[in-house]
Amino acid sequence: MSNKNLRVARLIFSSDYMHMANDKNASKTITIPPVTINADVATAYGNVDVTLPVPAGSISRSIIEYKGVNVSTSSYMLSNGSLTVFESFQKFFRWEIFWYRINATQVRFDYYIIRYPNTTSSAITTPSLTFTIHQQYLKAPS
């Protein structure tokens, strides 16, 4: 190798090295309505499918934003597909969102609303939250 800068050699463009190219950028908004979770239920579940020409095996780097009543917009990393939202307004629930591709053209977002184990035994209702997921898909070998 002729590159004399050892540190830069780990990062710089070169056809001698493998890189991951971008393929698609996409955004999807999911609104999760208020959900009542009964005393004997720990988790409520839903999903939404998104049709995208996403290349097989693609890697995603993502940001998720959420907003609700009396909740300012917050953004978090959706790292490798999962998110756990921890916020001070949440005393009884947490939300988790996962993404995965279900076929050649569609990506599915699963969301879970999970009751904290130490909450009261009566039925409780979640607030409504709107999640906007910004996905950047990286090309993978096909």
């Binding site: 780990r10 890697i59 790292s79």
Partner: protein
């Protein structure tokens, strides 16, 4: 600094570095009946790569999930000698066979030379038909140096057009930038010599353990806030690895 006034309108400029993949592993195997197992792959990179990847039940990856996905327990981790996949499909429906792709970046803590990797798959080779995300920030922050003392290593970066400055306070890293949008971030944690993606925190939560050993990331206009992991007693060295992409 580039002499072109609108250099950001173009790609392939050494002002805009891109990550390179120094570890790439494909595999396929049969899942045992109990849905649980471990695969290890030896390597001689000289460092623990920052791994990520996907697994699929379809050979062409027409369906796939990220590794360290929080729903299925598929944790990818690395040490200086091995890359490991620990999976536990358990009660969630065991697939019969899975196909695996693992990718890895060199960590910022490694200052040695990385040899050429171009002999691997064609879609990963630089192509001017493709777009590449500039890497605008990379770093590694050691937040704990022994089992009883939590310290934060101060790291200085040059100010550029993209990132204005980064500051750190106790167990917290803030990266200020001038981008008109919120950039992408990738995070990993090294705990006692093993490096895992930050999303592995979900498994710790489900197992009843605290997740403070893993970094998370929140965004606001002009900045990124990353609370850095502080770990448990007995965990001697915790390092957070950060990559930010425009």
């Amino acid at each position: 600094m580039s002499r072109l006034a609108t250099i950001d309108h173009f790609i392939f400029d050494s002002d805009f570095p891109a990550d390179m993949i120094t570890y790439y592993k494909t595999d396929s195997f049969t899942i045992p009946a109990n849905g649980t197992g471990t695969k290890t792959y030896n390597h001689a990179l000289g460092y623990a790569p920052l791994c990520f990847g996907v697994w699929a039940t379809a050979q062409d990856f027409s369906n796939s999930r990220p590794l360290s996905d929080g729903y299925f327990s598929t944790i990818v981790s690395s040490t200086t000698s091995q890359v490991k996949l620990e999976y536990d499909f358990g009660a969630k429906g065991t697939p019969t066979n899975i196909y695996l792709r693992i990718y890895g970046y060199p960590p910022s803590t490694y200052t040695g030379f990385c040899p050429a990797t171009a002999q691997s798959s064609k879609p990963l080779i630089l192509n001017t038909d493709d777009n590449y995300s500039p890497l605008i920030f990379e770093g590694a922050f050691t937040t704990k140096t022994n089992s009883s003392v939590s310290t934060l290593k101060t790291v200085e970066y040059n100010v550029t057009d993209f990132y204005q400055k980064q500051t750190d306070t106790a167990n917290h890293l803030t990266i200020y930038h001038s981008l008109p949008y919120r950039p992408r971030v990738m995070l990993w944690s090294t705990i006692n010599g093993t490096t895992k993606p930050a999303s592995s925190a979900t498994f710790d939560y489900w197992s009843g353990a605290a997740t403070t050993r893993y970094p998370s990331c929140s965004f606001y206009d002009g900045g990124i806030a990353i609370p850095l992991g502080s770990g448990y007693s007995g965990e001697d060295i915790i390092t957070t690895h950060v990559r930010v992409y425009a």
